[in-house]
Each structure stands twice: as structure tokens, then as C-alpha cells.
């Protein structure tokens, strides 16, 4: 490794927040607790930046790999590593965790200690999910992370929080247990074919899963990831969870947690089960397109700001699903980039909605209005993030959406056309929201002038805004680093599967179809 191999960098990154949580337990007083939490998240973020400039974009496979035996009796190892797919998710998690701590600063009235501990444990869980290369380790982080999120929504959320928390955890856990069965079956297949009972994902990559198993396993995996993304019609937990969660909870939920669903699809389904992936692609793309349009129309109908942003997430995540499943380089790159972009802009929007709520005590757009004149700074940030979210050229959202739509058009022109409605519909509901909240006349009936963004809130927003511009103006930094992994991901189905009907589709992709490999497909001996 380029990084000094003696230092287990990823382990430190993953478990630093957990150590921070332990220190929070010992901290005294509100300032002490918050101070420890902030220091931990800052340090973690700094560490997540290190892999960025030591990462070798051209190298295939995983980097910064650490491996040690964990539960040898069951073929489980402690195996960490990152590739182009996961590397940007780490700093995104780090950054949004800082934001989560800062927006909660002095805002938590009860049980602050438990609150910050939950967030730090949550951060460890998320970072663990993105770095695990062992399926059981992945699953442990994947599930362990749900409990703190459950507590965050259920304890510190708003009025209907208990219902939302239970719905969130039951939905996501229900999906996850199917994933577990799928993982166990994969390990058995590996023993059958490869000779070793192992949960090591890197070994799994070399496995040609027999086609009679692929479809069943795919369905088991898909259940977990579809709920998490969420893909229509598994999305119904999302608006509830978002509306009831505290601001910081929404930020992490929208910013990072949803990405784990896409991440899982790309990490497990595409490379491991190429044949089933090809088989199910049309259905998944159809669900994605439905999600795009349904999410947009539902967002359009909302009066609650948080609900609107939540449904816009459903729409945007649907577009990402369409792009990554389209099977071409543009769509895949767009999807991976959009994972980062959506995290930044939606996270930021939730922070701003939270700030608005604190000032006006309502999220109902019918009772807001005219905020631009009174809180110009807030309004400026809000408009920038809205424009980023709807894909204005020059901002980050444009890069992702453009590539995604390009990918969708290359798949089928009419799929692209349907997906492109996101641009129009997104502009409609987003801009209408801005109009209703920041312009028009004040409907709040409150006489006092709300204060503008505080220094603390600006400190959160400025880096996010800078990133929005930076990615929008220089996306090559991202695309270069994810090119290798994107090529691998789209070529996996092409190499391993043996489905003649797909040749036409793949010919449109910028990668040459590896016809030589055709004879490798088919069933195992």
C-alpha cells in the first residue's frame, strides 16, 4: 500500500467514532459532551481524507486492505478495504457527521449524552459498511447501525416519532435478514465450487455462481437493498422517518444511509450475480422510473417541507437506480457521483429546513413565506442547494444527472425520456417550494423578525456549498477515480453472463464487448 502499511488506517477511521462514543460517556457537562463529539467527528473526517490522495485510480481491486482472522471456525475474517466505489463515501460520511454534530449543538434538551453516543456509534456503523470486505462483517455493521438510528428517530424525533422509528427499523431489518440468508447461501456455494467455506467478498468475486442459484440469491439480496435505497414500492418508511427524525438524523439518513442501498446493489448484486442482474434489470429500471415520476409528483403535492425533500429523495434515488442498472459507463459513473452529490445537497437542504423550523416553528409551506427578505443568508444557501438538487449546470447535481440521463438514453431512448422528466418536475416542485417559502408574503403571523443563520450554521453550510461548486466545476476529479471501478461493474455482467439478448445493449456501451470470454459463461460443472 502507498500508505504506510503498518498503520491500519481504515480500522482507525472506522473505530475512532466508537472510541469517541466511549469518551463521551466519560465527559462531563453539555459543552464537554459536545466538544468531545465534535473533536471526534473532525478527527475522523481528517482521516477519511487521507485515502483520497494516496488512492491509485488506475489500479483495479481494493486498496488499503487489512485482513485478519476473526471467526475462523465459520470462515469469517476481519477484512477491510476500499475501491473507487466506496472511497468517496468515507469523507462524505465524515463531513455529514460533523454537520450532524454542529446542527445539534445546544439544541438537544434531554439525554444529550445518549444522543451524541448514538451518533458516533452510527458513524462507526456506516463507515464499517463502506469498508467491509467480509460479508458477515458487512452485515454486522449494516444491522448494528440500525439501532442507533432507531433511537435517534424514536427518542429525539417529533410528535409521531415512535411510529416512525418502529416502521423504519422493521422495514429495514426485515429486508436485512433476507440478505443474511443470501450471504450464507453464497458461502455454501463458495464451498461447493471453490472448496472453502468463506464469507470473504474478494474471494466471492472470482466465483461463477451457478445460474439456478443466482435468481434466488438475487431476490434475497435485493430485498435488503431495495428497502434501503428505497426503491418504489419499498419507500413508505422514508417520508415518515424523515419527517419525525431530528434534523441531524435526517441529514445522516438522507445523506448517507440511503446510499448504502445503492452501494449494496453495486457491491453484491452486480458483480456476484451478473446473470440474474441482467435478467432483473428491466424490472428494476421500471421500478426506478416509477420512483422518479412518483416521487416527483408526490413531492409536488406536499405542504410539509421535510416531506417534500424526502419525496424528492425518492425521485432522485430512483434516477440513480436507473443509471447504475443501465449497464453503461455513463450511467454507472453518474450513479456513483450522484451518490455523493445527493448526499451533499439533500443533507444541506435538511439542515436548512431544520434551521427554518427552528426559527418559524413550522414546516408547513402555507404558513411560511417572505423569508428571503428577512433571512437573506439562509435564503441564499437554500437557493443554491435547491439549484444543485435540480441539476443546474455548474453545480454538482448537473454532472450526476447529466451522466445518469445519458446512461438511461443509451439503455432505451424512452427510458431516458421518462427519466428526464425529473429535470422538469424537479424544477417545478423545487422552485415552487423556494417561491412559497422565501418569496410571496409572510403568512406566519409572527411579528418578530427571525434571526439569520448563526455563525455555527454558516460554518456548516459554507464547506458544503464550496463542495457543490467544486464538484460542479471540476467533476473530473471524481470521474477519474471512479472510472476503473465503473468499468469493472458494467463489465461484470458482460463477462460472466451468457445471455445473447444482451449483446446489442452492451454494444452501445463504451467498453468493447469481450466476446472471447463468452465461452466461460454457463453453468458450473
Amino acid at each position: 500500500m502507498l500508505f504506510n502499511a503498518d498503520i491500519p488506517l481504515l480500522t482507525i477511521i472506522v473505530f475512532l467514532p466508537l472510541a469517541g462514543a466511549a469518551s463521551v460517556l466519560l465527559a462531563k457537562g453539555r459543552q464537554g459532551i459536545q466538544g468531545v463529539a465534535l473533536t471526534t467527528t473532525l478527527a475522523t473526517f481528517a482521516l477519511t481524507l487521507l485515502p483520497l490522495w494516496q488512492f491509485r485510480p488506475e489500479a483495479a481491486g481494493f486498496q488499503f486492505v487489512e485482513q485478519a482472522p476473526w471467526i475462523a471456525a465459520l470462515g469469517i475474517s476481519y477484512h477491510l478495504g476500499i475501491d473507487g466505489l466506496s472511497m468517496f463515501m468515507l469523507p462524505l460520511t465524515g463531513l455529514l457527521s460533523i454537520a450532524a454534530v454542529l446542527v445539534s449543538w445546544n439544541r438537544i434538551e434531554s439525554k444529550e449524552k445518549a444522543y451524541f453516543i448514538s451518533f458516533l456509534v452510527l458513524e462507526t456503523g456506516i463507515l464499517g459498511v463502506f469498508t467491509s470486505l467480509d460479508a458477515v462483517l458487512f452485515y454486522v455493521f449494516w444491522e448494528a447501525m440500525l439501532i442507533p438510528m432507531f433511537l435517534i428517530i424514536g427518542i429525539w424525533g417529533s410528535a409521531n416519532r415512535r411510529y416512525a422509528a418502529l416502521k423504519f427499523i422493521i422495514y429495514t431489518m426485515a429486508g436485512s435478514v433476507f440478505l443474511l440468508i443470501g450471504l450464507i447461501i453464497m458461502a455454501f456455494l463458495h464451498r461447493q465450487i471453490g472448496g472453502v467455506f468463506t464469507f470473504d467478498m474478494v474471494s466471492w468475486l472470482t466465483l461463477n455462481v451457478p445460474s439456478r442459484w443466482q435468481y434466488g440469491i438475487f431476490v434475497l439480496f435485493f430485498a435488503a437493498f431495495a428497502v434501503k435505497v428505497p426503491i418504489f414500492p419499498f419507500h413508505t418508511w422514508l417520508p415518515d422517518a424523515h419527517v419525525e427524525a431530528p434534523t441531524a438524523g435526517s441529514v445522516i439518513l438522507a445523506g448517507v444511509l440511503l446510499k448504502m442501498g445503492i452501494y449494496g446493489l453495486l457491491r453484491f448484486c452486480l458483480p456476484l450475480l451478473p446473470e440474474a442482474t441482467l435478467y432483473f434489470t428491466p424490472a428494476i429500471i421500471a421500478l426506478g422510473v416509477i420512483g422518479v415520476i412518483y416521487g416527483a409528483f408526490t413531492a409536488f403535492a406536499q405542504d410539509d417541507l421535510k416531506k417534500l425533500v424526502a419525496y424528492s429523495s425518492v425521485s432522485h434515488m430512483g434516477l440513480i437506480v436507473v443509471g447504475v442498472m443501465a449497464g453503461n459507463l455513463a450511467g454507472m459513473q453518474g450513479g456513483i457521483i450522484q451518490m455523493v452529490n445527493h448526499g451533499l445537497s439533500t443533507g444541506a437542504l435538511f439542515i436548512l429546513v431544520g434551521a427554518l423550523y427552528e426559527r418559524q416553528k413550522t414546516r408547513d409551506m402555507n404558513r411560511l413565506g417572505g423569508m428571503a427578505a428577512r433571512t437573506p443568508v439562509l435564503a441564499t444557501f437554500f437557493v443554491i442547494m435547491t439549484l444543485s438538487s435540480l441539476g443546474l449546470p455548474g453545480l454538482n447535481g448537473f454532472v450526476g444527472e447529466f451522466l445518469l440521463l445519458l446512461g438511461a438514453f443509451r439503455y432505451q431512448w424512452w427510458i431516458g425520456a421518462l427519466s428526464a422528466t425529473t429535470l422538469i418536475l424537479g424544477a417545478v416542485y423545487m422552485l415552487w417550494m423556494v417561491q412559497r417559502v422565501f418569496f410571496e408574503s409572510d403568512r406566519s403571523g409572527r411579528s418578530e423578525t427571525p434571526s439569520d443563520l448563526s455563525f455555527r450554521e454558516q460554518a456548516v453550510m459554507i464547506p458544503l456549498t464550496l463542495l457543490v461548486f467544486a464538484i460542479g466545476l471540476y467533476p473530473a476529479y471524481l470521474t477519474d477515480r471512479i472510472a476503473t471501478v465503473s468499468r469493472q461493474l458494467i463489465s461484470a455482467p458482460a463477462i460472466k453472463a451468457d445471455s445473447p439478448s444482451e449483446t446489442i445493449r452492451l454494444a452501445a456501451a463504451p467498453v468493447p464487448v469481450p466476446i472471447v470470454m463468452k465461452n466461460r459463461g454457463g453453468d458450473e460443472r
Partner: protein, 483 residues
Amino acid sequence: MSMILPNVNLISLLPELLLLAGATVLLFIRGAGRGRGIFPVAVASVVASLAALAFFWDQGVRGFDGLITRDNGALLFQMMILIAALISFVLADDYLPEHRNAGEYFSLLLFALIGTGIMTSTGDLLVIFLGIEILSLSLYVLVGFLKDVRAGMEGAIKYFLLGSFSSALFLLGLALWYGATGATKLAAFAVPAAAPALLQAGAALMIAGLGFKIAAAPFHMWAPDVYEGAPVCVASFISVAPKIAAFAVFLRFASEIAGPGREAFAAAVIFMSVAGMVIGNFTALRQTGIVRMLAYSGIAQAGYILIGLLAVPEGGASAIAFYLIVYIFMNLGAFASVSHLSRRQGRTLQIDDLAGLAARHPRHAFALAVFMVSLAGIPPTGGFFAKFYIFKVGIDAGYLSVVLIAIITTIVSFCYYLRVVMVMYMEEAGEEAWEGTLPRPAGATLIGVMIAAIVVLTFLLGILPEEFLRSAATALPAVIAGI
């Protein structure tokens, strides 16, 4: 059997003799009137018995011409039971301080342990029956230990009637078995019998009798009433110790059975397992009393563990042992918390009574939450790897559909386990419910330290299960070989 007992080797019963000595001494201490040394004597005899078991580890011991055969598997199961007993002693000490019959209480518990010790360490059906009866008779009395509690008496009568009935079933099965094979040895399973129908009927009746002891559906009807009626410290013991002993017997059944009986056995186990998971989990959803909820959860957990029996001899035994190790800690931990909370209550503790517990007793609430999360099988707790291992061996043995049912019922179980967490952390307390029911936390109490230790162990089993898994895996093949 001949009149001259050859090769008695009393040493093989040393662990039980130590328990017997303790039980006898306890009765005398009670007679002396003071009740001072009751708890230490009880603990000392269990610890001595544990030490004796540890002494036999890896060398094994046989006695009574092979009627008592202690291999590592038998030793492991009895050690687990003794550890569970120690935990329940601490509970009893907290729940029944200065009870005037405490001597009898601990004495009866020790007798029950003698019963489990015999059950786990023999391959002879008649001796197994002897063990079951020693265990059951002690437990019948313990359930009704608090004479002035009506529900307790009701539970005791119910337990006694149904328990005797199940013992009778076992005995009838044993008689048929003897008729078919001419021997009381379990090993006779392997030889082709003259009358296979008789053999199968005998096996079925014995399985039903044992199913009662582990509260496997459809023989679970007694469990909720008995758990609720019995003192919580007794309920905690009943929820664990007889289960472990009965599973030890089940494992011997599973590893010995062959031929056409094999399929019948597998069918019976699948039926009990699926019924337990479905009935247990769905009924637990509707419970309001926390002990009743734990009772149905126990029925469901027995269903999960039964999956392991299908995978004998391919690792099912060690999966069961590991599950039971985890189950001791998480289930007794949950019972310990509940028992500590409910000891000053005049009535049974309802789940809603826990509202706001997190604000008043954060550590206590955290412990109970950990146990619930572990029972639900969520990482990073021991409950996760226990389920994981069971599912793994189940799939390996080719019972994917049973495992899928287990998965679906697990999702159902999240609802009621997490509901406890929700009530504790997310609801405000009704003021009057809690007045004076729990003392302010005052320093480190014995039970507090123990609960903390169990929490640590529950996490340890989830983060570093390797050691426990290895000991389970190395001990258990011996169960099969040693009969």
C-alpha cells in the same frame, strides 16, 4: 441387572454428590433457625460441583457399568446449567431476602441440579427418566414456593398436572421401546428392531415428553402461566436449566437415531420447531405482561434451537451448544432485570410499567435493552451469532425452507423485543406507576454487578465468539461418540 453392582465408580457421580451434600447441609442450616449461611453454602456446593466437572474435562469418566458416561459434551451441558443456576441464585438472593423458607428453596434448586446432572450424563433411557423426575419434582415445589400467591399456586398445579402427564408419556414411550428392543439403551436406535412401529411410537412418545420440558410447541401451554405465577427467580431457572438438560437428551436421540426412525424424528423436530417459532413469536406480540412475553419468546427460541437438531451430526450439536450458552446469558439477563424491577411490586410487571425507565435508571434500562436486542438476534450481540450459526447449519443440512420460516418469524420478533426498548426509551412514565417500586441505585449491589457482567458477556459473545464457538465445536463431537 444383576444383584452385584459391578464397577460402580462413585467418583463418576462426584459433582452430584457435592450438590447432594450442599442440599442436605442447607436443610440443617434452616433447622438451626438462623438462615445465615444459606446463600454461601448453596453457591459453594455449586462451585465445587463445577470444579469437579472441570476436573473430568478431556478425560471423561464412566460409572455404574456405563450407565453414567461423562464425556466433554455431557460435561459442557451440565456446566452451562450450573452457571445458569449460579445466576439464578443471585436472583433469588435479591428477590427473596430473608424469606423464612430460603433454606428449602436453595436445597430444592440443588436437587433440581442433581436431576439435570443425571439427565445430561447418561445414554440409558431409564436413567434419563430418573433424572427428569428428580428435576421435575423439585421444580413443581419451587413454582408454588410463595404459598400466599394465588397465581403461583395455580401455576404450580398446572405445572404439576401437565408435567406428570408428560412424564407418563415418556415412561409409556420407554415401555414401548423396551418392548420393541428389549433394552433401555438409546443406542438400540441403531439396530433394526423387530417391531419398527412399536419403536417409532415409543420414540414419538418420548419426544413429546421431552418437548414438554423445553416448552416446544405444541407442548408449550403450561409455560406462560407457570412463568407468570412462579417467583421470577424460579421462572428464570425454569426457562433455562430444564431446556439445556432436555436438549442434551435430544442431542443423544438425534445422533443415535438411524434408519426409518430418522425421518420420523426429523419430521417431529421440524413440526415442533416451526410450530414453536410461529406460535411463540406471534403470540408474544400480543402480550402485555413482560414475563408472559418472555415465556412466549422462550417458546420461539426453543423453536430456533430445534433447527440445530436437524443438522446433527454435521455441526448441529455445536450450534445448539453455542446458542444455549448465549441464551443463558441473554435470557437470564432479561429475567434478572425484570426480577430486580418487579420484586417490590404487588402485581405482575407489565411492559407499559417500564415507561420512562431510561430516564430513571439509565443503566438498568440499557442492560435490559441489550438483552432484548440480543434476543432479537441483532449484531453486535451474542444473539446474532447464535442465530447465524443455527441458520448456517440448518441450510447446510438442507432445510432452507425451515430457515426461511425462522427468518420471517424473526422479523415478527423484532416488533415485541424492540417494543420493550421503545417503551423504556421513548415513552414518558406515568408518575404513580413507579412510586417506591425500585430503590434508588445505591452503590454496587451483587445483582447489579452480575447484570453488568452479563451485559459484557453478551457483547463479548457477539464480538469475539471464536473462543466459545471453538469450545462448543471441540466438546460436542464427543456427545455422539460417548454413549
